[in-house]
Symmetry: C2
Subunit: 240 residues, 2 copies
């Protein structure tokens, strides 16, 4: 073994304490997707129809402001909404974080604002509504923990139904501001939802309790006229 | 409902027969990840430790020649190998299809050649070996279906162990040339491996029988001195 090998190995060990994670450490209230408990939550979940098409389209937000854009792209590809073309993939088509933005989304949220402050809950709903799908915005203050649990878990259990959440990271013990990602599954036994976090350079997917997630959505967003954060229920107009 | 809504709905229906799929139709020998059988194969699989970290890092190849690059990035991130920085994600670090290529990989496979003809099995092994991990290349002609089944399934069952396959798409009924992607799980009951196909604009993840996959690896690659395709067994030097 060369000195280079050992120096690399040493760098590896020093850089990666614990589970060799490059992502941030999870607080105790969150369960990582790749942990033994995280794995069993997925297996035992009976509300995971959303999981399979979303996992097939899981991606990393392109910039630190693009959590909303990445979440929308994942859901549109998971719903198989007819997609625009991409020069690199001709003749195949898919939604990307570049081609999903157009003149219609520009009128809802100018790219200049998006690049600086990201997207609000109402903007997610409005941008999704430029596509041939149903998108219903629910502010946490207009609903309840019980309603959220029932609606979100029933959506995740049905093919062609998806949920995007907008929550405050620090309220669930993460670093730290407002964030957006899709939910993929609900495990009734643990009363936890699986967030497929699009900031993959920062956190792995996590299982969060319904109470913690609802609390983190039930926070005020100063970029959205001080309305609370919340969730968007999304489905194909052919479904239901 | 506006005329625009109905015209979009009509476009949606016309563009999306069957399961509204934008990806290519799968031949009968392959089982889609998001199908009822595909879902149960994952649940019943007992060799799926590789699945969770890989699914957390699943991505789309950047160009049609980048299947090897995307597969390598997924495995390095899944292994939590200390990653280079990315301007957009500061202070967080992660491997991407841009930053994984450097002077050391350029010496193995010049980017100009990569952009034109992709990567061979031996180049995957050599590029992975520039990182502090173990990568063992197995050409199909030097092994057997039984050996592949045993080695690959045992790797997929152990944390920190991964398998990348290099196979001929048309041998499993897909369009059409040589391709590279990571394996994520093995279901013993179905005797099928799960390929997390990085050409996500083209095909969903599929469950393929061991015999079909081995046959597709046991094909000659004219870009690799007419050696057969095959697989790479990858692990952390701290494991085993």
């Amino acid at each position: 073994m060369s000195a280079r090998f050992y120096s690399l190995l040493l760098a590896f060990l020093l850089a990666a304490p614990g589970a060799f994670s490059e992502t941030l450490k999870l607080p105790d209230n969150l369960t990582g997707f790749s942990s033994p408990s995280g794995e069993s939550f997925l297996v035992e979940s009976t509300a995971k129809e959303a999981y399979f098409p979303l996992a097939s389209n899981f991606l990393t937000q392109k910039t630190q402001a693009y959590c909303g854009v990445a979440s929308i792209v994942m859901v549109l590809n998971a719903l198989n909404v007819p997609a625009p073309s991409v020069p690199e993939y001709e003749p195949y088509k898919t939604f990307t974080q570049d081609n999903v933005l157009n003149e219609r989304t520009e009128a809802i949220l100018p790219r200049q604002v998006l690049d600086k402050q990201g997207m609000t809950l109402d903007q997610i709903g409005a941008i999704l509504s430029t596509q041939p799908i149903k998108a219903e915005v629910r502010h946490a203050s207009d609903t309840s923990l019980e309603q959220f649990r029932t609606q979100a878990s029933s959506f995740l259990a049905k093919p062609g139904h998806f949920v995007i959440v907008n929550y405050l990271r620090k309220a669930i013990g993460q670093e730290k501001g407002g964030h957006i990602s899709p939910l993929a599954a609900y495990d009734e036994k643990a009363d936890r939802f699986l967030i497929l976090d699009v900031a993959r350079y920062k956190y792995p997917p996590v299982w969060v309790t319904t109470a913690d997630l609802f609390g983190a959505m039930n926070t005020v967003d100063s970029d959205n006229e001080n309305k609370t954060r919340g969730y968007v229920l999304i489905s194909s107009p052919l479904g239901d």
